[in-house]
């Protein structure tokens, strides 16, 4: 190039001393430019940077700002090059020429991988609205000149950036507090805000190290960047959406094997801590702006890029984890879709979605021990040392499932319906997938494994679990096979891997226990049984793992474990499981055929499964042993896993046409009848779409409360009648049963009634007085308990239960029977009945574990809960069996039990620790 072709600009090159060791390389490259800069400066890097600058005989300044300040009017451009970047000799020339030609304020170079110079790293950036950068490049995309055109972009890479000096003076250079990529985006956006063009100049090539741009500082810097440039209207939705996206990412990222929660926490913490300086920077950035947000949006892509990336990773991972011999690829989709494995997997997904569809639209049915989840906000507090609202309340511990619900609620923004669906979907989806993965441990292929999974989550025994309405056991189905799968996996060679494996098993077993504490023992029992049937050494190691894991997982059950009456827990409730004789015969035939006809390896699996299924069958009918409902539910869950293994092994045997021949094949063909019957029986949950749970019972009984005048949440409902129909626990009463529940609908945390307290004793006395007709206005008596309605619950046509109640209640002068086509005999209390009432007579409502009402200065509120001095605000006083507290604040709540709160935190911390160790071990291995 002849000197007359050279631009007339004067450029100062500023080398950002990120890595002092590579400054010299960059300076050497700058010195080789055909269009040399007027000056070269090293910026930052403290003492090391200064030392290198001295060694290279160039100037050193601490900040870009000082470079700008030191640049005289003769300087037209500032060339910012990151240390380690090697510009090609004509890089600066191209930048200056093209920038001047198109009148750009900011021009960036094409960035190539320094290790692999033919691979592109950046040809300008687009961003989403959150400033997440988007290169538009495929991974390892080669440079074939396909992007070689000067064009406007949202931002250019900070590796090599030419900045007009006057613009730089106005902008103040890159934000030093920001991470590199975000700082470059920020600088470009601020430039655009002032009307400057930002262009990429592909003819200017630099070689740069491929440094990952993720990390919490980048995210924090992006938050700062958007806060600086967007107008208030845009910020009003961008920042909340950014937070929302971070939360969703935190939930989804673990599915892709990443943990982003703490990164998001750190980023937002940093952002919030730097808000004052951000505000100042914002004032400066928007002062004298010539463009608005719309100009920025022009160069942005739609949709949240971060979330898209996570979802993409999850999908990719799911593809890889699908039990198939080959991973899917886009090109092969057409072919793969026709493969039995893929078809089966898609059918399985459809099955899960169909079998749980009603939960999504209607929520969990309110029947038996299945009740809607508590209102958002209260569950976690109640579990961690708060008030147990069952009956007339107590400090009895709530089951760990309530704590888990509370945690998940926090993660899904308090959507109760979503939490319910998450739990059910986990049970069905993860259960099915986990069973399929477990069966792969024994080389059972996709079709067989998925069929085993279907029978596991929806077969006759799983339907038995659902019939018990024990939600904890039902949810535990989703994790049980993963425990076994992890325990039976090949033992890692590396110590970190082994530690991680133990932590994984402990975490999974602990999770099972959190969902249903008794199920914590189930993996050990199942593996113990497997010692007889499966390869001894691997099974013995798996047994040791689950035993250690069970011990480790126990800690997650606190504070429930420290207070619960285990005797009651194991014996409360009853359930006698029965099924169609046809199904039993089919299962029997299948057991015989599989155990006898399968080859040795599969016969072990089928034998193990058959023993588990048979044992659960016996356990679920052991009425003489006084086992409680939870024992039956867990036994059925264990048996269901056994049945799934049996099905999987049998179908695998049928598929092995080369290995299973002769008389064995004939015997197995007999088993096909059993397989068909059991798989067909597993389709039953598809009909109602409630994951096998029974139909709703309580809504028909209690929905009327919403239609009555007044706030139903301010009152309770007394349920009397058949204990099998009354939800959760009930108290026996002269051949019948009763309990009180919250109106309009009790929540899951009201299931378990503990030992009776003074209020409960008073209620029983009141009920006795009504039944004995010692009182004529039973409504007045019941009003002190906040009982506004009485519903007589029994199976349809069970007059033996209903008539005596209707008679005694009908004789009370202030109990009005309600008509209107209600399914159950229902009486309304004519007396005013509020569970909390202020001294002004106004009712207070029960909301998410506390009472709210109109504050009364100096007034009092009487709370119809069992007496406890921790009710507040103080001063607290016991009135009869009730509590009286101050009404000044408009809120009445129970002061948490500190030791239980600590225990809950420890349990949660232990879970997080186990998860972290598991992740670390897996990564390290």
């Amino acid at each position: 190039m002849s000197p007359e072709e050279l631009p007339q600009a004067s450029v100062v090159a500023a080398v950002l001393a990120g890595d002092p060791t590579s400054i010299s390389t960059t300076i050497d490259a700058i010195r080789r430019q055909v269009y040399g800069p007027a000056r070269i400066l090293v910026v930052g890097g403290d003492r090391a940077g200064r030392r290198v600058a001295e060694g290279e005989h160039v100037e050193w300044t601490p900040t870009i700002g000082s470079v700008i300040d030191a640049s005289g009017l003769d300087v037209s451009h500032l060339w910012i090059v990151r240390a380690g970047v090697v510009p090609r000799p004509d890089a600066l020339l191209s930048l200056v020429r093209e920038a001047e030609r198109v009148g750009a304020g900011v021009a960036g170079s094409k960035v190539l991988d320094r290790q692999r110079p033919q691979h592109l790293l950046s040809v300008g950036l687009a961003t989403d609205v959150f400033d997440v950068p988007f290169t538009g490049l495929d991974a390892d995309e080669r440079d074939q000149g396909q992007y070689d055109v000067v064009r406007d972009v949202a931002a250019v890479s900070g590796s090599s950036m030419l900045l007009r000096r006057d613009l730089a003076t106005g902008l103040g250079g890159p934000d030093r507090s920001m991470a590199p990529t975000a700082a470059a985006v920020d600088l470009c956006q601020r430039a655009r805000l002032r009307g400057a063009r930002v262009v990429i100049v592909p003819s200017s090539e630099v070689l740069a190290p491929d440094v990952p741009t993720a990390g919490w500082r980048e995210e924090a810097s992006r938050l700062r960047a958007v806060s600086k440039v967007y107008g208030p209207a845009t910020l009003a939705w961008v920042l909340p959406l950014a937070l929302l996206g971070a939360i969703v990412e935190s939930v989804l990222a673990p599915l892709a094997g990443r943990w982003t929660l703490w990164g998001h926490v750190k980023a937002w913490s940093w952002y919030l801590a730097h808000l004052p300086s951000t505000a100042a920077a914002r004032r400066q950035a928007r002062r004298g702006r010539l463009a608005d947000d719309a100009e920025l949006f022009r160069f942005q892509v739609t949709g949240p890029l971060g979330l898209k990336a996570i979802v993409s990773d999850v999908v990719a991972l799911a593809r890889r984890r699908m039990p198939g011999e080959e991973r899917l690829s886009v090109e092969a989709i057409g072919r793969e879709l026709r493969r039995p494995a893929v078809v089966t997997a898609l059918l399985a997904v459809a099955f899960v979605l169909l079998a749980t569809r009603a939960i999504w639209s209607e929520g969990l049915p309110a029947v038996g021990r299945s009740l809607p989840f508590p209102d958002p906000g209260g569950a976690l507090r109640a579990y961690a040392g708060g008030w147990n609202p069952a009956g007339l309340g107590s400090v009895d511990p709530l089951p760990p499932l309530i704590g888990a619900i509370g945690v998940v609620e926090r993660l899904v923004f308090g959507s109760r319906r979503l939490v319910e669906y998450v739990f059910v979907f986990v049970a069905y989806g993860f259960g099915l997938l986990g069973m399929a993965r477990l069966l792969r441990t024994w080389s059972i292929r996709t079709v067989a494994a998925v069929l085993g999974g279907v029978v596991y989550v929806a077969g006759p025994l799983a339907q038995g679990v659902a019939a018990t309405t024990s939600l904890g056991a039902l949810f535990a189905i989703g994790i049980l096979p993963w425990v076994l799968r992890t325990a039976w996996l090949r033992w890692p060679n590396a110590t970190a891997g082994r530690v991680g494996r133990v932590a994984t098993v402990a975490m999974l077993v602990g999770l099972v226990g959190v969902l249903e504490p008794l199920a914590l023992a189930a993996p050990a029992v199942m593996v113990l049984a497997a010692l007889v049937f499966l390869p001894f050494r691997a099974t013995l190691r798996a047994l040791a793992l689950v035993v250690v894991g069970s011990v480790g997982g126990v800690l997650m059950l606190f504070p429930w474990l420290g207070r619960v009456d285990l005797g009651h827990y194991l014996t409360d409730g009853s359930f006698f499981w029965s099924t169609s004789p046809v199904v039993l015969v089919a299962a029997g035939v299948l057991v015989l055929a599989a155990v006898v006809g399968l080859p040795s390896s599969l016969a072990g699996v089928s034998g193990w499964g058959a023993v588990l299924a048979a044992a659960s069958l016996a356990g679920a009918r052991a009425v003489d042993l006084d086992v409680g409902l939870v024992v039956v539910a867990v036994a059925l869950a264990v048996g269901s896993l056994g049945l799934g293994a049996l099905i999987g092994a049998a179908v695998e045997g049928l598929l092995r046409v080369d290995e299973v021949v002769g008389w064995r094949r004939g015997v197995l063909a007999l088993g096909l009848v059993g397989v068909t019957m059991l798989v067909a029986a597993s389709m039953a949950p598809l009909l109602a779409g409630r994951a096998g749970l029974p139909g709703d019972r309580l809504h028909a009984a209690l929905d009327f409360t919403v239609a009555r005048p007044g706030d139903p949440t301010a009152s309770r409902v007394l349920l009397v009648g058949d204990p099998a129909v009354i939800p959760g626990d009930s108290r026996p009463f002269r051949g019948s049963a009763y309990r009180v529940v919250s109106a309009p609908m009790p929540a899951l945390w009201e299931l378990d009634l503990g030992d009776p307290h003074s209020g409960d004793a008073a209620l029983e006395d009141a009920l006795s007085a009504i039944v004995d007709q010692d009182v004529l206005r039973g409504g007045e008596v019941l009003a002190q308990f906040g009982i506004r309605w009485i519903v007589v619950l029994a199976e349809r046509g069970d007059t033996a239960q209903t008539e005596p109640w209707k008679t005694v209640l009908g004789r009370q002068l202030d109990l009005v029977p309600l008509g209107g086509g209600l399914r159950d005999a229902t009486f309304a209390n004519e007396a005013e009945a509020f569970r909390a009432v202020g001294s002004d007579g106004a009712p207070w409502s029960w909301k998410a574990g506390r009472y709210e009402g109109a504050s009364i200065a100096g007034g009092r509120v009487v709370v119809a809960e069992n007496p406890d001095p921790r009710w507040g605000p103080s001063p607290w006083k016991q009135v009869d069996w009730r509590n009286e507290v101050a009404a000044d604040t408009g809120t009445v709540s129970f002061g948490v039990l500190p030791e239980r709160r600590v225990q809950a935190w420890v349990a949660f911390g232990w879970f997080v620790f186990l998860a972290a160790v598991a992740f670390w071990g897996r990564r390290s291995a």
Binding site: V591, R621, V623
Partner: protein, 463 residues
């Protein structure tokens, strides 16, 4: 080997499972009902008394009498005939051994005014008396509420009229089935099958037009839904009598059967499916006639026995039957011989006016040692008589204690075994009721007689 182990274990477990038997369904609550108590027994607890026939308007007046052995708070409620209108209520306080009368006309005057009396403790009891210029009627109220009631003693013969009042004091709609029993047997009343009585309201059914010219008319009232308190009103040309429903029993005692010239009758109704043999014992002031007569009561065919043909009044009656029956006594005007001359008194000249009217009451199932007698002081210038019947084998010393003012001494009378004694009682000095305490179990009833008419009231046993 593993295959064998699996098959054996599965087989054993399957056998264990198959031998398990599903536990039985719970039989339902057992709230128990004290069958020894009648609808008119006072017990030592909270109670409600229902008085269906109370009436206060332009023509009639009513008094509800309350009597209690212990200090009680009482609440008298008079439901409004208008739907959704709150009842009129009046709280009252009774001391121990106290009785008060409540003039309903001072509370409301709207004609028929069935009442509810609630006591927060007991034993306590309530009765009601209704009167007008030509009517005196009343009886004790009822406290228990069975699903089926027997109301015997009605008649629609010439000169007699019968009404059935159905009072539903509860909130629930009552669906009532009414069956009539007469000398013609069971008579269906299709128009009164599933008859609705709205909650906290009442209905009055005129049986005279529905079933005219029945010499003996009894009614069975049952409810398929809800509950009602019925009472039967038997009216003559002038006076009328009203009594509550009762349940069936195998023994009934009637201390009072007649007053003045009124002719006593005993009506027995057998709602069972088979005939029942009934023995009637008669107890006069001087002795008894055991098994004075025996009658067979056909199923669904009530009979009326003219007691005057057995003995000369006054006397008490005991009924013993082989099966449960319902029974009442009625005192009806004699058939007047138009040619007869009115009697002159011994002094000559002054003619004592004959006692006119209609009276009737239910009996008591079994004797008791303590009785409460409310509403004896409701009518001024009337003669109230407490009748004490001792059907036992030993004599009983009976103290008749005035309730209300303190310091009044009880009258003590000896009632010999197998006799009946009439004790005229005062109604002045704020004495509104009595308690009768016997050294042995006796049965007690009251008659109130004045120029306007006659009323029999059953007393209330304290169990």
């Amino acid at each position: 080997m593993r295959r064998m182990v699996a098959l054996v274990v599965v087989a054993v477990l399957a056998v264990v499972a198959s031998t398990a038997v599903r536990p039985g369904e719970p039989s339902g609550p057992d709230f128990g009902t004290d069958t020894t108590l009648d609808a008119g027994d006072a017990v030592g607890r909270t109670s409600a008394w229902y008085c269906p026939w109370v009436d206060a308007g332009a023509v009639r007046d009513s008094v509800i009498g309350l009597a209690s052995e212990v200090p009680v708070e009482a609440l008298v409620s008079l439901p409004s005939p208008f739907p959704n209108e709150a009842p009129d209520t009046l709280p009252l306080t009774l001391r121990a051994l106290d009785a008060v009368d409540l003039d309903i006309g001072s509370v409301v005057r709207r004609g028929e005014s069935p009442a509810i009396v609630e006591f927060d403790d007991g034993p306590a009891a309530a009765g009601a008396v209704v009167w007008s210029d030509a009517v005196v009627t009343g009886d004790r109220c009822v406290t228990s509420v069975p699903k089926q009631w027997h109301l015997t003693g009605g008649s629609t013969a010439t000169g007699l009229f019968v009404e059935l009042r159905l009072f539903n004091p509860f909130a629930e709609l009552a669906k009532v089935d009414i069956t009539a029993l007469s000398e013609f047997g069971s008579e269906p009343l299709p128009e009164y099958e599933g008859f609705d009585v709205a909650g906290r309201s009442w209905a009055t059914i005129d049986l005279t037009t529905t079933l005219p010219l029945r010499d003996v008319l009894s009614v069975l009232v049952s409810t398929s839904q809800g509950l009602v308190i019925p009472s039967l009103v038997l009216a003559g040309d002038t006076d009328e009598a009203s009594w509550p429903g009762s349940g069936p029993a195998t023994t009934w005692e009637f201390p009072v059967t007649a007053a003045g010239e009124l002719v006593p009758y005993l009506t027995i109704s057998n709602a069972d499916d088979s005939p029942v043999s009934v023995v009637i014992d008669v107890y006069g002031p001087d002795g008894s006639i055991e098994e004075a007569t025996t009658v067979e009561v056909q199923a669904s065919t009530p009979i009326r026995i003219p007691l005057a043909e057995i003995a000369a009044p006054p006397f008490g009656v005991r009924l013993r039957s082989g099966g449960p029956v319902a029974a009442t006594v009625e005192a009806l005007p004699p058939v007047v011989d138009e040619e007869s001359v009115p009697p002159e008194d011994e002094e000559g000249g002054e003619v004592r006016p004959p006692i006119e009217g209609v009276a009737g009451t239910v009996g008591v199932r079994s004797p008791a040692e303590r009785w409460l007698v409310p509403a004896t002081g409701s009518l001024e210038d009337s003669v109230a008589t407490i009748w004490v019947l001792n059907t036992g084998s030993t004599s009983a010393t009976v103290a008749v204690e005035p309730l209300g003012p303190t310091g009044l001494e009880p009258d003590k009378v000896v009632v010999e075994a197998g006799t009946v004694v009439a004790v005229d009682v005062e109604s002045g000095d704020d004495i509104e009721g009595y308690r009768v305490v016997g050294s042995a179990p006796v049965s007690v009833a009251v008659s109130i007689v004045d120029a306007r008419g006659v009323a029999f009231l059953s007393a209330v046993p304290v169990r």
